[in-house]
Subunit: 363 residues, 2 copies
């Protein structure tokens, strides 16, 4: 099947671009001397996680217990759940994963969570590695003070069913900060705090084996400080339009967009616009509007028009696609867009070559 | 299982509130002398479509071929696809539905679409009812001029495989317009245009049997004009926070919120906030922020904090939920929120009584 004949709306994944992005990132990490455990919250796909493992990744980060379940069931090893597991349901499901032998570690940011984690690890007969998360300005999850993080590491180390495995910090609020030098300066400040935390843990006899964090926007800057032992960057596999124009190092941005949303033209009876069948239910709305690409006239722009529709406006006189034609958009935010779809339509150039289910999507 | 023990994030549907909303709407429609074909784009669930049919609805409207497939497979009759079927894929799938005997009608807004529809109806050996859509200011789909709509109706009537079934108009841009009197005035203007269209069709010997449109925000106002023969309102079953405070008639708003998103507290180590596991992937972002409800301290407010997280801020000294507790939010926009979830957790009061799959979600 050809790329422009697929059913719409659909998520298109350009395999050549994906493979190139993976190759660039893994080659860079090797040269920088840092490991990769890319975040699966972006792709939610065992197929992509497996490709990253094959290229040298340690495993996959997961944001939710559901993602960990889907990847573990597909045989992905080296799982790390980056958000605390706290509710009765999350703990019961983590227990089942441990009892089934999943290769998994978790984070904690609260001493009340340590007992609960220890209890399920003990019941599952497994020693559970726990990473202490520290908040470095995002104000979302993580211990607030360095003293809290050290006390938490101690209580984990004292629990016979748990192993203190290291520390995590994620500066989500800095990932797309511009100008680049401001991002660089803020990363340097955060690294001072990380070094203080590490020194405090070493002083307490608990040197962290794993130091994990980072994202696509700061991976290069973070690595310059040689603090993180592994990086969680995930969006680089797709490069959405938020990351597309963003400099990631003094050399710019080496990645290429691999993810597109295909939409069909449902109305073409106005001189300066067409209506397509992709709206709030096919494209994430949290980070701006998608951009029409691939054979669309220059100057064309997309507007959301409700749950199932968008309008593409054209400059006067510009050629418009025909009624029933399939067009493509670059999404502004890859993670929640992927979450709206059940599968990737995998293409090479203009040919559809495969279909990969988004097994870890939704709840 | 109790409502506060479910896995999170989850979509909770309060059955008593749902049934009450259905009862209120169907009783009103009966008294107003207008039929209901509620839009399934809101609920995407054969269980809810069946409940509406049982209460007297004619059938269900669908926004996509995928919704029509899911409802037809579940035995729902009286289907109407409210957006044009134009791509090769949509037409092939419509053909399959017709060939399998689905009870379905469609819309058109372009003469180039009539031949394609006629061809698949002929091949399926079925006469396909086609509704002509007119644009009354939304500028999304629909014929632009009354003359275009009449010409289109003629070409449908002349096609032996098609039946001209009537007209459709949807004023999505007026559904939540305030003040109420402004919405009322704009509806009255649109109805003048509808009457002109109907007169023109009658003049051409093509009186429309079905006149369909409307939504939750204008259903009462629309019905006062006695133009529509049937209404497509759908969101009333849930009443999200966009519709919640909205007056729908001079008597206010008779419906009650039945849809909630449950989230678990993952971080509770700050004095004035907690972090919960529901963000862009569990709650639609297109129409504002969700509202914490049910046992949460007054003054509490939700902030999106990325793909999987939100922060709930509290007034100083206000009681906060415990780590691991399950809280509930009212979503700002029900349709795209439902689309993020795989199932409704159906409750009566504090007890979980059922689980309904959202079979027509996603693509």
């Amino acid at each position: 099947m050809r790329r422009d004949e697929i059913k719409t709306p659909a998520l298109i994944l350009d395999l050549d671009h994906l493979d190139r992005n993976i190759e660039i990132m893994t080659a860079w990490a090797k040269s920088a001397g840092v490991a990769l455990r890319p975040h699966a919250k972006s792709h939610k796909s065992p197929d992509i996680a497996r490709r990253l493992l094959k290229a040298g990744a340690l495993g996959a980060c997961c944001a939710t217990i559901a993602e960990a379940e889907a990847l573990a069931a597909a045989g992905i090893t080296g799982l790390h759940i980056t958000s605390p597991m706290t509710t009765t349901d999350m703990l019961a499901r983590l227990h089942r994963l441990l009892a089934r032998g999943a290769d998994i570690m978790v984070v904690a940011d609260d001493p009340r969570n340590v007992d609960a984690l220890g209890k399920i690890a003990l019941e599952a007969g497994r020693k559970l590695p726990v990473i202490v998360e520290i908040d470095v300005g995002t104000k979302r999850t993580g211990c607030v003070e360095i003293g809290d993080a050290v006390a938490l590491a101690k209580s984990i180390a004292q629990n016979k069913a748990l192993a203190f495995a290291g520390v995590q910090a994620y500066w989500g609020h800095l990932q797309q900060l511009m100008p680049f030098d401001e991002r660089k300066a803020r990363v340097a400040l955060n690294m001072e705090r990380m070094r203080k935390l590490i020194a405090a843990l070493e002083g307490a006899g608990l040197p962290p084996r794993i130091i994990t964090g980072s994202g696509t926007g700061t991976h290069w800057l973070d690595a310059q400080h040689e603090v993180f032992t592994e990086l969680q960057a995930g969006s680089f596999v797709f490069l959405d339009s938020c990351y597309g124009p963003l400099p990631l190092s003094p050399d710019g941005n080496p990645f290429t967009t691999s993810l597109f949303v295909a939409a069909g033209v449902v109305t073409a009876n106005r001189p300066d616009s067409v209506t397509v069948n992709a709206g709030f239910k096919a494209l994430a709305t949290d980070s701006g509007t998608p951009q029409p690409v691939r054979g669309i006239a220059q100057g064309a722009s997309y507007r959301f028009m409700g749950d199932e529709h968008g309008v593409i406006d054209f400059d006067p006189g510009a050629p418009r696609p025909e009624l029933g034609a399939v067009i493509e958009l670059v999404t502004s935010h890859c993670d929640p867009t992927v979450n709206l779809h059940a599968r990737y339509v995998v293409v090479r150039g203009d040919e559809v070559v495969d279909e990969w289910p988004i097994l870890a999507r939704g709840y």
